[in-house]
Each structure stands twice: as C-alpha cells, then as structure tokens.
C-alpha cells in the first residue's frame, strides 16, 4: 500500500494536469493605455480611471440614464438644505480586499488624503473637509456651495485607512503622514473593487484576480448559461495598434478598451467572425477656435470656417462605425441640443457671406489661419487637410501643423501662443460629464488650457447660466439649464465639431459585455460588467 500511494498521487497529479491543460484559461488580457498610477488620489487620466473602477469603488456610481446612483454610499443629502454641507450614509458590510469592513473613518481619511495631496481628480472638488458623524455616516463641508458635488464623487475612490497608514514612507511632503502612502499605492491596492491587484509595473502591466467578497456580488442573473465571472485580469499597455491587431487575431489579446483603431483595422475586425466590436461612450472631436488671435478673433470668420467645412467627406467612411453628428454635449447624453450655427453639411455660399461680413473681407488672400493637430494622429490631420482644401476654395490659406504632444499642448497655455485652431478629443472622463462639457470648457473658472483654447469669456448670460448649473439642486431644472446654454455658446462659434467618435472596444467573441452601457469612462471597463464564455473559448481556440 505504501508503495502504491506515491504512484497513485503521481497519476492523480498527471490526470489533473491533463485536465487543466485541456480547459480554457479563465483569464482575460486587456489592453489599456499606460496605467501610470494605481493610487486613487493621483490617478487622473482615463486609463487610470479604467483601472480604478476595477480595483476600487467610488462613493457613487454613474447611472446609465445620467446622474449618479448609490454605490458605497446608499443615500446623501445637503444638511438643512445647505449645498456646502453634504451628509452621506454608507453601505454596511462592504469589505476591503484585506477582509476588513469599510467604515466612515476610511471614507473621511480617503477624502482628506485626496484633498491634501491635491492631485488626480481632486481639482473640481475644491476644498473639502470630512467629518465623521458615526460609523456609517460622514459629512463633507465644502468651501463653496455646489449642487453637483455628489455627482463629482463618481471619481472619488475609497482606500483602507489602516493599510495605507501602515505603508507610509517618511519623510515626505505631507508632514506626519510622510508620502501619504503614495509610493506603496502605486504598486499595491487598498480597495473594495471587484478585482484585487496582484502586481503592477507602472506603464507596463497590471495583474489582478477576482475578489469573491465584492459587495455587489457575482450574480449570474442576466448572463448566458456558459458565461462565468472572469477570474484573472492582465492589463497590458500597448499603444501601437498594428501590434494590437496582431495580438487580437492571434488570440493573445482578449479585449481592447481604448479604441485607437484606424479605419482599415476596424474593417478587418468587423470581417473576422471570431471578433466583435462594441461601442459604449464617444469622444467629442472638437476644433477650438482662438477668439483672441487674428483672424479667428472675428466671429464671422469663425462662422465661415463652420460653413466651409465638408462634414460629409470627412465622416463618410467612418459612418459605419457610429461617427456622426455631435455638438457641445455628445448626442447620447440627456439634454443634448443640436446646435446652430453648427451645420452638418457644407454651405460654401453661406461661408462666403460670413467672410464678406468679417473685418478681414478685403484682405483674405493675405491672411493665414493655423490649425494644430497632435503629431501622429492621422484622423486629426485629415480634418485639418479637409479644412485647408475647403477654405482654399474661398481664397483663405489654412496652415496645417502637427507638433508633438509636449509642444502642441504647451502652445495652449495662453491666448497669445494658442494657434487659430486646435483639435482635441474630449472623452466623458470628468464627473459629472455635463458639467465637464459645459462649465469646465466655457466658464472663466473652468479647466482652462486645452479645455478652453477658445479663450472667450465675454458673454455674461452664458457665465450666469453656467454658474446656475452648479447651484441648481434639482436635476430636472439643471438639465433644462444645460439645454438653454448650449445654443448661446454655439452662437459665438467658438468651436466646430467634425463628429463624435465612438470608442470601439474590440474583443474576442467569447467575451461578453458590458452588461450595462454607461456613457462615462470607467464603468464600462469595470470587468464586473463583463463575463467570459469558456465553452466558446474552447471551441474557438
């Protein structure tokens, strides 16, 4: 018997090995752009946010119908109607990855840390002071009233206080808190999200495994019979889409979530029966016009550009992939208003009329309007070249240049250095998205820089309405204000919008999701919202 035991054990291990070898791996390789930091207090770009939604949980969650819904917080309200004093009641029984339960102490600590460090997405919150009311209630005191404060917390992620404090490095920039755990959190997690980080090489690779005790659970409701939760995630960070297409076709890559595909690549993916494309949120392709620099300082000249542009030519081949009309808001957002004078078709006659009304009418051949795109982005260059060709028909020279990102972005730091036109893509990555596309881009207290490269802040009515959106607690009334302000902004022709560009997630056919479509960066990339069909994977591979 003694001699048989090792033999049987070996046979068992061999058989188990064979079974494991035969079964498809429950692991999904995802390409996200470089996730630089996994610290919720410093995460800022949309790539970081995608990782955040997997590793951490925000206090409130963007809702498919707009606004936010309960998540770590179950309810919230202004205390005595004071919009500078908000009370949040927290969900009970939420566990961190360490197994400890989340309390108001963790939430208050996370907010203090977020505001003190002053990085990442903390800017729009202003100065916030956190006060613990009891174990499951926390108050936030703001430096100025804000009706949209709860919505901004869709990018506020809670960290485990004791774990962070145990890993601070001293000395640091934050007195007794040393580095506030920044170095440690760059490569470790202290969250409550559906996945737990197992390793992170910043800018290269992030590995995570499923958190079985995730507070939202792992119900199979709404999923197909063979669609099971994904056990392991591997985020890779590759920006070359030729390589990505090769990986996708060879089956080494399961899901790509940044959608930087060229048109021929999209056509190849579409033609492959083992691959699928899904669109959730769109980027707003925006061409700012500098209202402080000649010749775009003239409103009629700017309107001439709008009417001269041949929208159909530029959108044409992309239309099959959802590119199309857009405006100040993106069309799938509640409250979107199709704006005038944003024509959707070229009208050269109208463009000539506008040029005739401009102060440059008598010296059109002498002037040059400069168009900047970010070097290397072909579709941005295509838009510039189209505009160049269109304006040439009117006798106006448009110079198209594509400096590299550092130079391109630095030029937008002041009105005098900003070119006449700057193209940029705006994804719904700041919370709330309505405020991002309006207040942040058109109010004097907005985000400035490349977000306000039109440099126009003279219309008092626009400013009044934008301020009103941040002070209005009733979401329905607020939405009406957004609808009201869009045509007023459009009247000044501060930008033109060639098209919206849906971010197309390319994935293997055996990957299912997202179950819920939320037009905001992050929730759709939360892998709790996706499943893997291992039976289908076995068949296809």
């Amino acid at each position: 018997m003694k001699t048989k035991l090792p033999v049987l054990t070996l046979l068992f291990l061999f058989a188990a090995g064979l079974m494991a070898w035969g079964a498809a791996d429950n692991v999904v390789v995802i390409n996200g752009y470089p996730v630089i930091t996994a610290d919720p207090a410093t995460a800022s770009d949309w790539y970081d946010t995608e990782a955040m939604y997997n590793l951490y949980s925000p206090l409130v969650y963007p809702a498919p119908e707009g606004g936010v819904r309960a998540h770590l917080a179950t309810s919230w309200e202004p205390v005595d109607g004071n919009l500078a004093h908000w009370r949040f009641v927290l969900r009970e029984g939420v566990k961190f990855h360490s197994g400890y339960e989340m309390t108001s102490e963790d939430v208050a600590f996370s907010m203090t840390r977020f505001i003190t460090m002053g990085r990442g997405n903390s800017g729009p919150l202003g100065k916030v002071t956190a006060q613990i009311v009891n174990q499951s209630t926390v108050d936030f005191l703001l430096d100025k009233p804000s009706a949209i404060f709860p919505d901004t917390l869709a990018l506020f992620f809670v960290v485990e206080k004791n774990l962070v404090l145990a890993n601070i490095k001293t000395p640091g920039n934050y007195g007794e808190f040393g580095d506030y755990g920044e170095d440690w959190l760059a490569t470790h997690d202290a969250g409550t999200g559906p996945y737990m980080m197992t390793s992170h090489l910043p800018g290269q690779r992030l590995d995570a495994v499923r958190f079985v005790d995730y507070f939202e659970g792992w119900s199979d409701e709404g999923w197909g019979p063979d669609e099971v939760p994904i056990e392991r995630l591997v985020f890779i960070m590759e920006t070359d889409y030729t390589t990505l297409l090769t990986l996708l076709k060879s089956g080494d890559l399961d899901l790509e979530i940044n959608g930087g595909w060229t048109l021929p690549q999209l056509q190849q993916i579409q033609a492959d029966p083992t691959l699928d494309l899904v669109a959730v949120w769109s980027q707003n392709v925006t061409v700012w016009m500098n209202s402080q620099a000649a010749p775009t300082d003239d409103e009629h000249f700017r309107k001439a550009l709008l009417y001269a542009f041949d929208y159909e030519s530029i959108v044409g081949p992309w239309e099959a992939f959802g590119n199309g009309e857009t405006g100040i808001l993106v069309p799938n957002m509640p409250g979107y208003v199709a704006i005038e004078p944003q024509p959707r078709a070229q009208n050269l006659e109208r463009a000539r009329q506008e040029l005739a009304l401009s102060k440059y009418a008598d010296r059109l051949s002498e002037i040059t309007a400069v168009y900047h795109f970010c070097g290397g982005l072909d579709f941005e260059e295509d838009i510039g070249l189209q505009l160049q060709a269109d304006m040439a028909k009117l006798g106006v020279n448009v110079e198209v240049a594509g400096p590299p990102w550092p130079e391109y972005s630095a030029s937008c730091s002041a009105p005098e250095t900003t070119p006449n036109m700057t193209i940029f893509l705006f994804a719904p990555q700041a919370a709330p998205a309505h405020d991002y596309y309006t207040y942040s881009m058109f109010a004097p207290g907005g985000l400035g820089w490349i977000f306000e490269a039109h440099w126009y802040f003279e219309d008092d009515e626009i400013i009044r309405l934008l301020e009103a959106t941040r002070a209005e607690p009733d979401p329905v009334v607020r939405l009406a204000l957004y609808e009201q302000v869009q045509p007023l902004i459009a009247e000044h022709a501060l930008a033109f919008y060639p098209y919206q560009k849906p971010t197309l997630f390319a994935h293997q056919a055996y990957i299912a999701g997202p179950r819920e479509s939320i037009a905001f960066v992050g929730p759709s990339e939360n892998m709790h919202n996706w499943r893997i069909n291992l039976v289908l994977k076995d068949q296809l591979r």
């Binding site: 470089p34 760059a186 910043p202 590995d207 070359d240 990986l247 550092p406 130079e407 400035g448």
Partner: protein
C-alpha cells in the same frame, strides 16, 4: 623584453579612466539638464494630467522648483544625485531610480544576448571568410554583410516577427513572456535567471525563446560589421612574416588559426564590440517598440515624449556611464590580448 604592468599600474590606469569618466558625466549632466528644460512642454502639467486645475499645476511647479532659475534647479538636482536620489519621474510618479531598476535588466538581458549572438556568429563568419578568402563562402558572407549593414534593425525586427511568428509560427511574438503567463518573482530582473531561481525552468526557456527574435534583430547589423572587421584583420595578419614562418614549419591549419591568428585578429573586433554594446543601449528602442519589450530604451522614449525631466537626464547619464564603463572594460580586455599595449601601459 616585455614587462607586465604591476597591479598598482593597472589600478592607477583604472582610477584615471574612472576619474575622466566622472568628469565627462558631469559635463554631460549639465548639457542634458539644460537641453531638457528648453524643450517645449510643461512637465508639471504632464505630471498631473489633463484635468488638473491651474492651481494644482502651479503648486507642483513650485514643488519641482520649475519656477527657479536653471542653475538653482541644477543645484537641487545635483544635491539629490549626491544623496543617490535622481528625482521623481513626472510620468510614472515614482523615483527615477526605481524606474531604472525596473527597466534596465530587461534591456541588459536582451542586448547581452544580442551581443553574444553577434560575437559568436560575427567572429566565426569573419574568421572563416578571412581564412578562406575569395571562396564562395567569403563572397556569400560579404553579400549578407552588406545587406545586414544596410537594413535598419526595426525593419529586420518587423520582417522576423512577420515571418517566424505570424506566418511560420515557429517563434513567440511579443513581450518577455506570453501575456497570460505569471512572471517569476523578481530577483535579478533577468527573466531567464529569475525563472531558474524560482525553480521554473519552463519560464527560463520561454523567456529565452521570446528573446530570440528581438536579439537577432539587434544583432544582425553587428554580426555584419564584426564579421567584416574580423575578416579584414585575419587577411592582414595572414600576410605577416610570422604566419608564413609557421606555415613553412608545417604547423597544422587549425593550430595556426586558433593559436597564432585568432588572438591578434580579434582585437579590433573587441573594440567595436564594446562600442556596439553601448550603442545598442541607446538604439534598441525601435526593436523594443516592435516587440513590446518593457525595457530601458522604451522607457527613454516615453520620457522624451512626456518631457519627464528627471527621467531624461537619468537616461542620458546611464547611457553615458555605460559607454564609459564598457570602453574601460574593452581597454582592459585589449591589454590582456595585446602585449604591446601592456608594454606601453607598463612603461608608463
């Protein structure tokens, strides 16, 4: 009579060279420090991301001393360097030293492998082509060498990837390991060694397979160069009197080749090999891009594109240091190979 240098002489020589290197690196640091700062772009903005407010950007500019004059900024940087602190990367938001520790081994492992390939194949080809000069082998190796020298590494990288990975499926594609494979615990950063240390020889073998195509892509140009140099040197030495004398005395061909011809003939190649190694450090980035190789060269490009000031300076210094150390090593090796150099050094 040939006298060997004393230990002290050799040490003095190394100390002198190290001192010279220090001086060069100091000059290099000043140069690159100022060049990096006049490049367009705001490093504080790049560090904080798009959504940072102007106040946040301004606060970080103060923290990074960007509002101070260049000499003051350099003083702060130099003070940090003396303490072993190369500053923080504004892109990865980690200490630059941590980034270097993470990225350097991947590139070192790759270029060591590439250097090994180029040394073995290049020298062997050169020796055979020289020894059998004007034979069909000599002609063929000449043709291949010209092609190798004329074709950029990244073109070879793309071709090899396409042919051997995509079409023939004989070699793995990108990365240091298959994407789904969990890497071994990091000890040295060399995937092959870490795989073995972790008791996972399969990982070491897989890592080696993944290294094959990028290493060959990098090695081709150097195989060609080193092959040609070795060939020329062999041909030159074969015409020397002492070789003729050995031939007349009936010394066998293989003994003639390996004992009397090879050693003096590879000296010029060794010099080139050293330079090639350092050259690969700074020029591997396109191959690293093609193969998604998470190495130092790729990090350097990212630093440049994101105006990551501390990272840029550190990258240039590391390359400078590599050049200096490799040149020193080459000189020492040549002293070992060539008695006339030892004689000159020994004689002061």
């Amino acid at each position: 009579m040939v006298s060997r240098p004393t230990g002290e002489t050799m040490l003095t020589f190394i100390a002198k060279r190290l001192f010279q290197a220090l001086f060069v690196l100091f000059g290099l640091s000043i140069l690159i420090f100022f060049i990096a700062r006049v490049m367009p772009g705001d490093p504080a903005r790049a560090a904080l991301g798009h959504l940072a407010t102007s106040e946040q950007v301004e606060r970080l500019r103060e923290e990074m001393h960007l509002n101070d004059s260049f000499p003051v900024q350099y003083y702060y940087w130099l003070r940090g360097l003396i303490r072993g602190d190369l500053g923080r990367s504004s892109y990865t938001r980690r200490p630059v030293t941590a980034d270097l520790v993470q990225h350097l081994p991947a590139t070192f492992e790759l270029i060591l492998f590439a250097t090994l390939i180029s040394a073995v194949v290049g020298q062997l080809t050169g020796v055979l082509a020289g020894f059998f000069r004007n034979s069909w082998f000599d002609g063929l190796s000449r043709l291949i060498s010209y092609l190798g020298i004329a074709t950029p590494s990244f073109v070879i990288a793309i071709l090899l990837l396409f042919i051997f990975s995509q079409v023939l499926r004989l070699a793995p594609g990108v990365g240091r390991l298959p994407l789904m494979m969990i890497p071994p615990a990091r000890i040295t950063g060399f995937m092959t060694i870490d795989g073995l240390l972790a008791g996972r020889p399969d990982v070491a073998l897989t890592a080696l397979k993944h290294m094959a195509l990028p290493a060959v892509s990098l090695a081709v140009i150097h195989i060609a160069q080193e092959g040609r140099i070795t060939r020329t040197s062999i041909v030159e030495n074969m015409q020397k009197d002492y070789i003729t004398l050995h031939r007349v005395h009936g010394i066998r061909t293989h003994r003639l080749l390996f004992k009397y011809l090879l050693k003096p003939s590879i000296i010029p190649t060794v010099t080139v090999m050293g330079l090639d190694f350092a050259f690969l450090m700074s020029n591997a980035f396109l191959v690293e891009m093609v193969y998604m190789w998470p190495g130092f060269s790729r990090y350097a490009v990212t630093a440049m594109l994101n105006k990551d000031l501390n990272a840029i300076v550190a990258v240039v210094l590391v390359i400078g240091l590599t050049f200096a150390l490799v040149n020193l090593l080459v000189d020492i090796v040549i002293m070992g190979l060539d008695p006339t150099v030892r004689l000159r050094r020994g004689g002061g």
